[in-house]
């Protein structure tokens, strides 16, 4: 029987939730890496046993972990057990090393971006926000980092190299941090066109490459952000998350700081589809696994009050690709609920019916085995949830 593995990153460790295809009874393992901030875990669709994890700390920096057995055991890819030093006795640990490109080969090195005070500030690596494994090669994985940049490993996470064309394409000095830092939080790989990648940065906007990451362009036309000096600027928008259905790589859905947006031409032009949402502020957005026009968001009251309206935790679903939304409340708390759902904390499985999952800053992970019609908590008392990803297992 098929099954589901839900990978949960929290402020104080990682958890792996597993169930069979019925998705009624769950096993919970963890905390893995107890005490560390686990920003993101994601499995490879090319090899479901391969999982990458971003383990991070304000004290101790960035660690990349990798599992080759579905999350049972973990190693740092650059430091395999029993092989503790490299040639010449030099230590390894290269898998933790993210160094911004400064080579002349990729053009003039980009060294500063705009800071909160409007002045230029040096680029400083802080952490990996998102790991996106290739859909075809288990050893190839992309990392979106803070301060915003995109890295790639082609050796299973042992070594990382920046795709410097993103920072170097010209608008980098105008990027600035959002309240959560200047993070590259969304990476979407187009399975039909391996050379096309979408990324999003808070607060710079969305960007696209059509040549495998060498050159990039901003794709923010149609976004309107009243809170920035030029509301329709080419860059500077606080994009919270972007989602795509694999069957329609030209159609993108975006949860912006305010506004839910849609593009039907690979990001060349966006239009607002907030429609009848009670508030269009929020962080997550995702697409049904089998219905490309069915999308989900969790409206949050405002940028100043990061919790649901009226204390009611409601997922909103649109079956028309936006504009017309219905509240999904069955099984979710409808009073006194003041949690947030962060940008990478929603995911879907590909079973029939589609499963939908999200985690909250209150430590709950909710699941729906019927595409959102009803919900139940899988776990309720974890540390604040930073990310949720799902693997559908054969």
């Amino acid at each position: 029987m098929s099954g589901v593995r839900v990978l949960v990153g929290t402020r104080k460790g990682a958890f792996v939730l597993t169930s069979d295809g019925k998705r009624q009874k769950w096993d919970v393992s963890g905390p893995h890496f107890a005490g560390w901030e686990m920003y993101h875990l994601k499995g490879s669709s090319a090899d479901p046993n391969r999982i990458y994890a971003s383990q991070t700390s304000g004290w101790f920096g960035q660690i990349i972990q990798r599992s080759d057995d579905g999350g049972k055991t973990w190693t740092q890819p650059g430091t395999p057990p029993g092989e503790q030093t490299g040639p010449g006795g030099m230590p390894k640990g290269e898998s933790n090393k993210f160094v911004y490109d400064t080579s002349a080969e990729t053009g003039k090195p980009l060294t500063t971006h705009q800071f909160y005070d409007g002045k230029q500030h040096p680029w400083e690596f802080k952490r990996v926000w998102h790991l996106e494994p290739s859909s075809t090669d288990p050893d190839t994985v992309y990392a979106g980092v803070e301060d915003a940049a995109l890295f790639r490993s082609t050796d299973g996470g042992k070594n990382w190299k920046e795709l410097a064309g993103l920072r170097g394409h010209g608008t980098g000095p105008r990027w600035q941090p959002g309240a959560g830092g200047m993070c590259l939080h969304t990476i979407i790989l187009d399975r039909k066109d391996p050379k096309r990648i979408y990324i999003a940065i808070s607060a710079a906007g969305a960007f696209r490459t059509d040549d495998g990451g060498n050159t990039w362009k901003p794709i923010n036309k149609g976004l309107y952000s009243q809170y920035i000096p030029e509301p329709a600027a080419e860059v500077g928008h606080c994009v919270h998350h972007v989602a795509m259905h694999t069957s329609r790589p030209n159609v993108l859905f975006m949860q912006k700081h305010w506004d839910v947006m849609r593009s039907d031409n690979a990001g060349d032009l966006w239009k607002e589809v907030s429609g009848n949402l009670p508030t269009d502020f929020g962080f997550v957005i995702d697409v049904h696994a089998h219905e490309p026009e069915t999308i989900y968001v969790v409206p949050i009251k405002s940028d100043g009050e990061h919790f649901p309206l009226e204390g009611k935790l409601r997922v909103y679903r649109s079956k028309s690709g936006g504009n017309e939304w219905e509240a999904l409340t069955k099984g979710l708390p409808q009073k006194d609920c003041y949690v947030n759902v962060l940008r990478d904390a929603m995911a879907v499985d590909s079973l029939d019916k589609c499963g939908v999952y999200f985690g909250t800053t209150g430590g709950q992970v909710y699941g729906s085995a019927d595409a959102g019609d009803s919900w139940s908590p899988i776990v309720e008392h974890l540390p604040a949830v930073l990310s949720v990803e799902v693997q559908t297992l054969p």
Binding site: G35, W36, S57, W59, F60, G61, I63, M90, G93, V99
Partner: protein, 98 residues
């Protein structure tokens, strides 16, 4: 042999107990201790000092014999008591946040 006490998070990462021992040839300094530590436990590379600049991470401090050596140049010798193993070198995470 010198003795080094790591913060709990790094003990878990390196899969070691409360105190580890390192063999160091020559002067026992911040640099030589960290070189030896990273050679023996490569998973710690980048967690105590930056990969590239080799600067101490801001929220970590080095204490020995009740003195703070965090701001000393990296080649300053630690006290004889640390070099002889009589006293441990304490690597401590700042008490800040949750």
């Amino acid at each position: 042999m010198i003795r080094v006490v790591l913060p709990g998070h790094l003990r878990a990462l390196a899969r070691v107990g409360p105190e580890i021992q390192l063999h160091i040839e020559g002067p026992v300094t911040q640099r030589s201790v960290l070189d030896a530590l990273e050679a023996q436990y490569p998973m710690l590379r980048g967690t105590i000092r930056d990969h590239v600049t080799q600067e101490r991470r801001p929220f970590l401090r080095f204490f020995a014999c009740a003195e703070d050596y965090s701001l000393e140049p990296p080649d300053t010798p630690f006290p004889d008591a640390v070099a002889s193993g009589a006293e441990p070198l304490l690597i401590i995470g700042a008490i800040a946040g949750g």
